[in-house]
């Protein structure tokens, strides 16, 4: 399969997946990359160059907020991202959209057989 098609398809759901991970608790970049990889069984193995622009866009749109943690002991300062109330509402809408979207994609694929 053409890798470009696969990447294009994945790109459409990344914001929703990141928001979903952040709806559990605040997380930092590396943690998001690892959790996304593990939960998707390797399908969504993001690189920093893909994840951070998504986080910045979500922050610019007011869907997440960030804070730098204070370094304690051996732990370095990290930038944590947290979902906002607007982000929670947006995630709910995106989930609904995804359900309609995927159902209709399946329907269309089924019809075309």
């Amino acid at each position: 399969m053409n890798l470009r098609y696969e990447q294009q398809m994945k790109k459409g759901v990344l914001e929703m997946l990141v928001l979903n991970l952040l709806s559990e608790t605040e997380k930092y970049g590396y943690q998001l990359i690892m959790e996304l990889r593990d939960k998707s069984r390797g399908i969504f193995t993001l690189k920093e160059g893909t994840l951070y622009p998504i986080l910045y866009r979500l922050e610019d749109d007011g869907l997440v907020v960030s804070r730098w943690s204070k370094p304690s002991g051996k732990e370095v300062s990290r930038k944590y991202y947290k979902i906002t109330e607007t982000g929670i509402s947006e995630l709910a809408e995106l989930r609904k959209l995804w359900e309609d979207f995927s159902a209709n994609v399946f329907l269309t694929l089924g019809d075309s057989k």
Binding site: G29, M34, E48, Y52, Y56
Partner: protein, 215 residues
């Protein structure tokens, strides 16, 4: 390449504002640190992340258009300011190098009267073939070397062919300054029996001859 250089290499290729570049640099550093704490080696991390050019390219590809626009505008402004600064500098240098003229009437260095009198005196001395007086009395060191007997002889031939001196018909004076040096330039036309000769004589600020031209 160590991690500091790796991160530097990534951020220098980013097409976004300086503020965002600094932010990305800090986040990459903490990500690398987190990965190392999770047991990855620096080699594993750099291999997973990819070449700095590829990491930056991915960032640039995914960066919002508004951010890219901001970066491009900022860059254009920087280039524009640099070009404008360079132009101003160039103009200032040209202004300093180019000779500027001024009126001898208002000069604090030269006296219009003295400049005119000395020019007439030199023309008289040329007519009387008193070249050594011109050389010794009116010339500065460089002119003393330049105004050899041969030079005077050639000048003498040019003047002699015009016949005997009659009178001065026109005088034009101007001051010139260039790179901190001031000169007085006199153009005096002398009438001879058979023709006219126009002398252009230049004095330095010590009223010594620093140029002699005749036509």
């Amino acid at each position: 390449m160590n991690r500091e250089n790796y991160v530097k290499d990534v951020i220098k290729r980013l097409e976004c504002s300086k503020k965002r570049r600094v932010e990305i640099g800090k986040e990459l550093q903490t990500d690398i640190q987190s990965a190392l704490e999770q047991g990855e080696t620096w080699e594993d991390v750099s291999l997973r992340m990819g070449h700095p050019a590829a990491v930056a390219s991915e960032f640039n590809e995914n960066t919002a258009e508004t951010e890219k626009k901001k970066y491009k505008t900022g860059r254009r402004v920087k280039v524009g300011l640099f070009a404008a600064g360079l132009l101003v500098l160039l103009c200032a240098v040209i202004y300093l190098i180019l000779p500027k003229t001024f009126s001898l009437d208002k000069s604090k260095v030269f006296s219009q009267k003295e400049v005119t009198q000395q020019t007439e005196q030199i023309i008289m001395l040329l007519d009387q073939e008193k070249y050594s007086v011109i050389r010794d009395t009116y010339s500065d060191k460089r002119m003393q070397k330049a105004l050899t007997d041969t030079v005077f002889q050639k000048a003498e031939q040019a003047v002699k062919h015009t016949g005997s001196y009659s009178k001065i018909t026109s005088v034009y004076t101007v001051g010139m300054s260039q790179m901190g040096h001031q000169l007085a330039v006199v153009q005096m036309t002398a009438l001879y029996r058979n023709s006219t000769v126009t002398y252009t004589i230049t004095f330095n600020s010590n009223m010594k001859l620093s140029g002699l031209y005749m036509k």
